[in-house]
Amino acid sequence: MFDEIKSFQDMLTRIKFIVSLILTLFLIFLLNSRLGQMPPLGKFLDPFSGIWQNAHIPDIPEKLDRSIAELHDEVQIVFNERAVPHIFARNDHDLYYTAGYVTAMHRLWQMEFTAFAGLGRISEIAGESAMEFDRYLRRIGMSYGAEQIWELMQDDQEMKAILEAYSAGVNAWIAQLKPRQLPFEYKLLDYQPEPWTPLKTCALVMNISRTLSLRSQALRLTHLKAAWGKEAVLAFFPSYYEGAEPVISKGTQWDFAILPPDPPEESFIPQFVLRNLIDDIPEGIGSNNWAVSPDRSLTGNALFAADPHQPINLPSMWYEMQLNAPGINTYGVSFPGSPFILMGFNRNLAWGNTASTNLITDVFEIELDEENLNYFYENQWHPLELRLEKIKVRNGKTIVDTVRFTHHGPILYINNEKPFYQHIPVGHAMSWSALIPAETLRGVKLINTANDFSDFREGLSNITAPPQNYAFASIDGDIGMQNNGLWPLRWQNQGTFISDGRRAEFDIQGFIPFEYLPHEINPDRGFVSSANQVHTDSLYPFFYGWDFANDARAKTINNTLRENEQVSISDMKNLQLNAGNHEAKQWLQLMLDSVRGYLNSHPDIKLSDNFNFLLDSLKSWDKINSAKSIAATVFMHWRDELQAKLWKPLTEPLDDLPHQRPNMDISLKVLFHQSPVDYYEKLTGFSPQTGEILVTSLNKIIANLEAEKGPPGEQWEWWRFNGPFLKHWLNLKALSTERMKVSGSSLSPNAVRNSFGPSWRMVAEMSDPVKAWGIYPGGQTGNPASQGYNEFTIDWAEGNYYELKLYKNALEAVSENHILMRLKPED
């Protein structure tokens, strides 16, 4: 009996042991694995080496004296109170090595992630879900382009050495990381950093080109051409029109020794059914820059301002630093992963760039043979060049993809494939001048060390993509604007529509020489400025595209500068923060008059209850997109709706094809019966019913807003629709910010809009020494567990600036009570 009980107990113990053992091991396995989007919870939450430890990583390391064998000489890094490193080295190698070391200290995860995006390697982190995105990136030639840049650099020993030194610095930081110090996102996504390589820096160059210049509306306009006719399309999408405010002063004379090529005699009608086109640039990408000459400046020194508008990410796309070594002393912002200052200033000059959306992406219809190995060109078959791309998928197999190259460029998708973006044309090759390798990085380095406009221009002549408007000002009192890049030499309207890839006369015929690109130095008006609008007036002899930003921002900036003959630094800051709406200034009165006229003649029309109240608020509106303005909300919704309503008769038949409406400027002109209204009348058979369109669209958006937000009140304030918020690269809400109560719009110099906005604001007075101020949203450290992660954001939202100090040497920097870190070569 007793034995039986004992053996029962025994069995029970045995069962308990086996069950608890299995359960323990199973739970450990489970908590050590990533399940879907969930991090491995045990490993992740372990307070000894998991995510909690990231709260103990200081923004500036506690161990300030370090020995590093690879350094040639001692390097001093002075951190200011915002954790901005001022690096003082005795040679280039040590300077760029240290730049890599400190950038990795603050931004390791971000720099690797963005480089992976540049190379089409996101599947290695995110798994199968990113595979088609990676394939797309390979097809447009991102990894190919990066390899070409690095290959070209093999002949430039100086640049090669710099990129290698930078890589070694990044890798030295990675090597000393303990598992508990691994940056936040690696722990969250459960993977490890790999060594940095110069190729990754080259991939970042491709990223910039993709963001700013991979763009074509050729497919949309080709559809419109088929429906409306070529003349109408060219009238609705003009490359220049009266009243526009170009970048380069109107009336500038150009004396060029070459002429645009002749157009082909026979035009081209595409043979394939097309549904798609290449990347869209989201509204909100754009930038301002300007410089004021000494005779219009309060102090007699030239003044400079730049604010690029980009996705406002967390961590910021910018990293602030000073680079100082014999022959170089510069301060500004760099892209984490690239060793140079992209926008900033040195002892002699300040510079900043804005995207210039001239056409450098062309789309060619390609005829392939049945095996997809040859393409038809000039009456014969030519072999395609094949490039194999290996896409590694996390926890999966490696996929080998073939990219087919014609002499135009890569074929994006062949006929039986489904494109990644719905709007990419199948069966077409793309020619994109960013795929022509160039010494872009050398160009940036030359700008960092430039003494004057001619050095500056020489630097820019090396930067072949993306094209941008570079403004500059010098302590000698010069101001200038210069564009750069490989602009295809086009006949009038070449590239506006899809080109025939079978005929040589549709090929890109060459590029506009650098000296002939739009530029001006010390113009009569006493300032230079750009805001992504059209570059030149109709006197410029070359066609370069039509798809430019609304010039409302440019008009506000230029009018403000014209009216002020004694511009001060605070005027410069206020202009960057200006939330004025030039479109409303130009058109709102006309719109309201027309509404009044229509209402008087249609007294019986049924309107929403708040119509008259909101109409009054528009009448008394100051035409500033202030955060709390309700009139701004109404106007901005109204303009979108009336544009849709105006073009509906013409676009409705095209609804299931890619197409687009003429821009807002053209729309308002047509609405008020100005040119090119005649094309509208010809195509529709009637004149736009101005009053009716205005009243019904206003009434409709009011009803929509009421349904969404209730009666007009706090919920209607403009910032609730447009206010900026910072978005983490992984689009994780917990690591991003809420919408902020900030004034501005895509039509205002302060071009905040959702997750876009001025990602860096800088102003400078070109005295000797240069005085400069700047700010970006975010913080120097990319560690989301640190208060420093987001420490500049409130100041940025409130329009404050920090002083930027270009110290002569470490001694001067240290004297201002900052933290000194010393890196020494081993004895």
Partner: protein
């Protein structure tokens, strides 16, 4: 007060080994202290719960809840302090189960010391 020993063992092991070494702490302590299964679980659970919980709470306090709030967002928890509680619970469950495992093994190996 056996849980204090578990906590100390866990602390020492985690200096050298990854997070799962808390299971070793529970297991080894289970081998040493023979007790009723539910007390074994409770001691292992409390030991690691307190160890992980207090470490996380310490971080929570000196970091002013900045990180904890982000973790709560990532893990869909209502408040930052829940990140501390979830951390402690995960540690506690592993601690408890592993202590039971050690305890039952000990009971199987040397039946003399068995408590009925």
């Amino acid at each position: 007060m056996k849980w204090i020993i578990v906590a100390i063992a866990g602390f020492l092991l985690q200096i050298f080994f990854p997070w799962w070494s808390i299971a070793l702490a529970g297991f080894i302590c289970g081998l040493f202290f023979v007790q009723k299964t539910r007390y074994a679980f409770l001691n292992g659970f409390v030991g690691i719960f307190i160890l992980w919980g207090s470490m996380a709470l310490y971080t929570y306090i000196i970091n002013q809840g900045f990180l904890a709030e982000k973790l709560a967002g990532l893990l869909h928890l209502p408040h930052g302090i829940f990140s501390v509680i979830v951390t402690a619970l995960i540690g506690g469950v592993i601690g408890g189960l592993s202590m039971v495992t050690g305890n039952e093994l000990k009971k199987l190996c040397c039946k003399e010391g068995m408590i009925i």
